[in-house]
Amino acid sequence: MNGVLPNGFESWLSAAPERPAGVGPDWLDDQRRVAQEQVRAQSVPTSKTEDWRYTSLKGLLEQGFAQVDESITALQPDDLEEILIPGLDSHRVVLVNGRYAPELSVLGDLPKGVRLGGLRALLDADPDALRERLNRIAGDRQPLFLALNTAGLDDGFVALFDRAVMLERPIELIHLSVGMDEPRVAQPRHLIVLGDGAQATLIERYVSLGESLYCTNSVLEISLGRDAVLQHDRIQMESANAFHLTGLYLSQDANSRYRGVNIGLGARWARTELVTRFRGEQAECDLQGLYLAGDRQLMDYHLDVAHSVPRCTSRENFKGILYGKGRAVFDGLVSVARDAQKSDAAMSNRNLMLSESAEVDTKPQLEINADDVKCSHGTTVGRIEPEMLFYLRSRGISAPLARRMLCLGFAGEIIQTLSAEALREHVSEQVGQRLESAPLN
């Protein structure tokens, strides 16, 4: 290999350079190599880097995370009890520290034309099924954390849907993190491909056992064929000490519909990148988001929705509640290419600040190169209206409860867009709990 990495991420690749040869076909090795070169060619982003203007990597680099090549086998299905959501009936896929754990997963009955499972297993069994799909949606020029993920590409989750297949029950993808002696990074890579007219629901959850320190750098590639429909609920509830990075790369063919609901509650430092590319006309992409940034927590969202073909619709609706020394960053970009007429985009970011020392940095951007479009964005930052609080208090409701009720009302708009009742209850409860213990200064 070409010497050391100039940018402090050597350890993220430490296990990668030798090992990949054993896993998967040659074409994948080539892609890993290209990605490694891309990592080497980049320097660590600083506040001078536009995409990292408000987000410092200092804390993450100080931890000295390393990729560790060992799987945890000690877990039993019983250990999952505390993290499962009661009443949620799903095809369950469990990853432990980024590795697919078949002994914990319950795939259940699957209709013909659906393949679910671990990436590594499929690479061994049928690499050709992945050849034209893996690492294709994310693009050639990969930013640092995507390139790191590709360079260390090794395991993850795969869902392949043939034409017109419909899955009634949701797929539940659980990222379970278990603390280890040394701080480690897991870089799972997921691929979800829906053929023309296929329909599915994916519930993606990030959870941990204990409050350990670790880092997740997950990447999802999602491709929707013509008329395909995907509902995607993402609930990030990492350990309070964790660092969380996730990149979602979405490609939509004509008339396809995607709805993603991004709930961010956990991790002390979390960055989410959502990248949408429309490939066919009349596709719809709906991105909803709710984040709670509590004391010393950072929630960072980056959206990049490119209307490159005419007549597509996108909605971006993100809401945040901040308390303690919480910080939130929202950086949303909607771009409309020349000739992408009749594009319709509406972006909104609303923030509720509950404490003196919270901070919000928001940057909703529009880049419009066509004239017959409907594009708008709106942002607000404010606190709970004293009148509303007074109204509730005058009816005998205590101040903390009134505040909580108003916050839940604010959050409710997003929570409602989750697909299952059990999930909505689970998230409402979690939000309520966090608000209850929230320091208001």
Binding site: E50, Y54, R338, D339, Q341, N351, M353, L354, S355, E356, S357, A358, E359, V360, D361, T362, K363, P364, Q365, L366, E367, I368, N369, A370, D371, D372, V373, K374, C375, S376, H377, G378, T379, T380, V381, G382, R383
Partner: protein
């Protein structure tokens, strides 16, 4: 041949024939070094402190890099190929009559309804001293002096009021601020100085237009306005009439200082040469404008109508330092042909109960590109700060583009911050409605566009607003269809 060249040729042709001999000595050869900076200062007979100030800026400028983040594209500027000093034109070098002026320019003057004598003045024709506005200007100066308002060129002020200049010049936009501000501090040619004493309400709208001696202040203009406690001043910059200039690069600096309860209203109409149909030869307008609301309850209001220049790069800003101070920004920017505008504002809320309003209207036609870039920062001590931002873009034609890049940083929970942006085109329904009532398409568009910009025009002084409306219609002529 471009029309700018046409003007240049007319101007240039005269010294081909050797009418004058000493022109070379009036204009510095291209290039910039310490010697040139010293020479500029010496030429203007500046006191020692000014020379040192320029040199300090120049030395710092050498360490700076040209910014590249704006969404504007132009060939690299060679700063060594620019001449940094040229004495004002002498009457015998100017065109002798309107016949020598580009007919397109005259046509525009007529459409704007500019009187003949003024047309001559605008076109740079040597005019007799009996010309109306000279006497007007004299009257103006008299009543200003009575009120105690200082209104003169920066060069005069450096001599006559050195203590005010030393105290305030560069205190809002220091030479370290940005590349072009640094360059300006080193080589600024001239500009305007306004000082309004305590409690004085300036009796009239001030405008460079009436400051005859300030003609040809050149490409590196510098403006400083100081409003002492409780005073009020309204200042108009620029002119609706198209301005031609042989200097392609304009890097001006404007500093406003408002003390307790003072109010400054600064209005700009900019209509510099935008270049030919291919965008060649147009003016690069890289301006740093900033207002400092130093005192409590002070107010600074920027209003701008930007229709000219090939490239506009400007962000009039407000530092809201005083408690309860107010910042406002109203802007209409029009880009057509190959024009590019990257403009917006910064509202920095530092004091308590500060409030700011931003209304930005962008109109892109043809292959014009337009970027709103703004920052609203609410600092950790800015309790009760409020901001309302609205930026709307109107697109005419499918080759133009409009970008919106707002930055919002909030560090106090009591802040109330709203930002809205929309991008749309003139709807067919609106057009159809107007046309069914017998308006031509062009009139209909001009009517709709004027409605779109009304919020901003309302902020302009009366006679300016009327001219701005006409200007907008002319700017958009031929853009539709």
């Amino acid at each position: 041949m471009t029309s700018a060249q046409a003007v240049d040729d007319i101007v240039g042709s005269e010294y081909e024939h050797g009418f004058t001999t000493d022109i070379a000595s009036e204009t510095f050869p291209p290039g910039l070094d310490e010697g040139v900076v010293r020479a500029i200062s010496a030429r203007k007979g500046e006191p020692e402190f000014m020379t040192e100030w320029r040199l300090k800026a120049y030395r710092h400028w050498l360490t700076m890099r040209e910014p590249a983040w704006a969404a504007v594209y132009y060939p690299k500027i060679d700063f060594q190929s620019i001449s940094y000093f040229s004495a004002p034109k002498r009457p015998e070098d100017m065109p002798k009559s309107l016949d020598e002026i580009d007919p397109i320019l005259l046509d525009t003057y007529n459409k704007l309804g500019i009187p003949l004598e003024e047309q001559k003045a605008l076109a740079g024709i040597a005019v007799d001293a009996v010309f109306d506005s000279v006497s007007v200007a004299t009257t103006f100066r008299k009543s200003l002096a009575e009120a105690g308002v200082i209104f003169c060129s920066i060069s005069e002020a450096v001599h006559d009021y050195p203590e005010l200049i030393q105290q305030h010049l560069g205190s809002v936009v220091p030479h370290t601020d940005n590349y072009y501000a640094g360059l300006n501090a080193a080589v600024y040619s001239d500009g305007t100085f306004v000082y309004v004493p305590k409690g004085v309400r300036c009796p009239m709208e001030l405008s460079t237009y009436f400051r005859i001696n300030a003609r040809n202040t050149g490409q590196f203009e510098r403006t400083l306005i100081v409003a002492e406690a409780g005073s009020y001043v309204s200042y108009l910059e620029g002119c609706t009439a198209p301005q031609r200039d042989e200097n392609q690069l304009h890097a001006a600096v404007v500093e406003l200082i408002a003390m307790e309860d003072a109010e400054i209203k600064y209005s700009t109409v900019q209509n510099w040469y935008p270049g030919d149909a291919q965008g060649k030869g147009g003016i690069y307008n890289f301006v740093t404008k900033r207002g400092d609301c130093r005192g409590a309850r002070s107010k600074i209001s920027w209003t701008q109508v930007e229709t000219g220049s090939a490239i506009t790069w400007k962000y009039p800003s407000c530092l809201l330092r005083g408690d309860g101070s107010v910042g406002e920004f109203y802007s209409v920017a029009v880009t057509k042909g190959r024009q590019q505008a990257d403009t917006g504002t910064k509202m920095i809320h530092i004091g308590k109960n500060t409030s700011s309003t931003i209304v930005s209207k962008g109109i892109s036609a043809g292959e014009g590109t337009q970027t709103y870039r703004g920052l609203v920062r609410i600092g950790p001590r800015a309790e009760g700060a409020r901001n309302h931002t609205q930026c709307d873009s109107l697109l005419i034609g499918d080759r133009c583009s409009a970008n919106t890049f707002p930055y919002i940083e909030v560090k106090h929970p009591s802040a109330n911050m709203e930002h809205e942006a929309t991008t749309s085109k003139i709807s067919d329904d609106q057009l159809f409605y107007c046309r069914s009532r017998g308006l031509t398409e062009e009139d209909a568009v001009s009517m709709i566009v004027n409605g779109f910009c009304k919020e901003v025009f309302n902020e302009l002084p009366m006679e300016f607003a009327v001219e701005a409306q006409k200007l907008l219609s002319i700017s958009l002529e031929g853009a539709v269809g």
